[in-house]
Amino acid sequence: MKRSALWSWLWIVLGVIYFFAPLLATLEFSLRASRPTLFFSLLAYQQVLGDPGFWRGLLFSTLIALLTIITSLLLVLPTAYWVNLRLPQLRPVVELITLLPFVIPAIVLTFGLIKIYSGRPFHITNTTFGTNALLVGAYVVLTLPYMYRAVDTGLRAIDVRTLTEAAQSLGADSITVLTQVIFPNLRVALLSGTFLTLATVIGEYTIASFLVGLNAFGPYVSQIGQNRAYQGAALALISFSLVWTMIGLIQFFNRGIPGQSQVAGGR
């Protein structure tokens, strides 16, 4: 037992070094902006926070993320509910569909979306609204696997049928059942899906760079980092703390509830 604990510590120490070295290096680098005058300074952060482009990008991406969450919930909630309650024969089909975004990499999805919607007959990308709608749609696809899984896991953890029948026998209509009975029971699942979507979408680069370019936060971070290394390091740390906040919130809401997904996957 003693020897195995020693090995365990060795792996953990390696993991900790690998995890923290890039963060420390980035922090150190981001503080170098005023050298040689000042050894450490917050200049890079001041420049980042003072740039209107930063706030514009962050606001834009946050709004897109919120629209993604709303759209995603509107699509996923009723579907997961109906599949659990009335159309279980659809379950294999829907589960397979929610795996598809994994099979179609984001860059390929972007390629297909642009090819089909930017030309005839749709011309969707000719308007700002159309392009943004396309972006939201692409993000809904991207987040579909874990949004659906979060909701589905939540629904299976409660007895949907009994709850529904109990509410109906008390005279509730379908809308009341959903909003007053089912949703409140899914709170944790919905919050997980929401924050995971926020963490994924706000910094997303691949799809955003091809559809909306520098309007979005991800491409903005990339652009700044290529031209101004110190500010890029500051932005990387800011992005990291955003992700950390979202994941922290998920774990806060999930405490004591095993099996909730907090994995969105790479980009």
Binding site: G203, Y205, V221, G266
Partner: protein, 316 residues
């Protein structure tokens, strides 16, 4: 995307009672979802399929797919070993696949060891919750910021590079580079191994104490227990998760684009420059190349689905 999720299939018999009108409403309830899926998943894939098989005039052709393999030949290197001489497209696929396999296996093993360390390795409880929190964050910390962080760490003037230099070791002179295959793999590992930790920790928890006790009562040693009981139970979920990791790396674009400035020949980078301006000088070929990525992912998903079903038999 946890692979194990095995609540019994939905209660069956009650469904048959549904009356026709209810059914119509139920189908209407899932209609928005399916409309969306058609518009945003099926149509974009379908356009690749159709146009991949069309020439410029819109006639059916196989040229685009043949062009992917064109220029590939078997040559012999000076040492006499056969070498596959790949064209740009095939070698882009090949490098992407190699990076994905490398980081899936590397990240998978490292992640498994870490998950083992915090579940069965006899470490204090706080180490476990700390590792799981970090893993949750790191697995979602991919893309441009991750690339920047690694440039600041192991780039030419990165902190660790300079640290080694002050110790008298120039890692770039020694052959290391952050901007090639191994550098990119090392960077990808940052979001690969945490995913393994997040999926394997619950799976290792799922190993029942009784199994170990039963094996020991029957006289099994620790090695025998792992070889004949624990590993066979865990293997499907280990392999299944490694496939997830493969897909994770195979589809990654942002990290590679930001790290190398598009200078590495990955298949995602190739498709990116095809979107920006027909880099292949052949639109049809672009569709075929993009479709090829879906084909690769589709092929690796088949064993994944099978492994997931197998792993659900014992672990949940």
């Amino acid at each position: 995307m946890s692979p194990s999720d095995s609540v019994p299939k939905d209660s069956g018999p009650a469904v048959a009672r549904a009356t026709p009108p209810t059914n119509v409403w139920a189908w209407l309830g899932v209609l928005p979802f399916f409309t969306f899926v058609v518009a945003f998943i099926f149509l974009p894939s379908f356009v690749l399929l159709v146009r991949g098989f069309q020439d410029d005039a819109g006639n059916f052709t196989l040229t685009n797919f043949l062009a992917i393999f064109k220029g590939t030949s078997l040559t012999f290197s000076p040492s006499g070993l056969p070498e596959l001489d790949l064209n740009t497209i095939l070698s882009a696929y090949w490098i992407s696949i190699r990076i994905s396999v490398t980081t899936a296996i590397g990240g998978g093993l490292f992640g498994f060891l870490l998950a083992y360390a915090v579940t069965l390795g006899g470490l204090p409880r706080w180490v476990r919750s700390g590792l799981l929190t970090f893993s949750g964050v790191a697995s979602n910390f991919a893309g441009v910021p991750l690339a920047f962080a690694f440039i600041d760490t192991l780039g030419r003037v990165g902190l660790v590079t300079l640290l080694f230099k002050s110790l008298g070791l120039d890692i770039y002179d020694a052959g290391f580079s952050l901007y090639n295959f191994w550098g990119l793999s090392l960077t990808y590992m940052y979001f690969q191994f945490p995913l393994m930790v997040l999926i394997m920790a619950p799976a290792l928890d799922g190993l029942k104490r009784e199994w170990r006790e039963a094996a020991e009562n029957l006289g099994a040693t620790s090695v025998e227990y792992w070889r004949h009981v624990a590993l066979p139970i865990l293997l499907p979920s280990v392999l299944g998760t490694m496939i997830l990791l493969f897909g994770n790396a195979f589809g990654a674009y942002a990290t590679a684009a930001a790290l190398t400035g598009g200078q590495i020949n990955l298949i995602t980078i190739l498709i990116g420059s095809q979107i920006q301006g027909d880099a292949l000088h052949n639109p049809g070929l672009g569709f075929a190349v993009a479709l090829g990525m879906i084909v690769v992912m589709g092929v690796v998903m088949i064993p994944y689905l099978w492994l997931r079903r197998v792993s659900e038999r014992w672990l949940r």
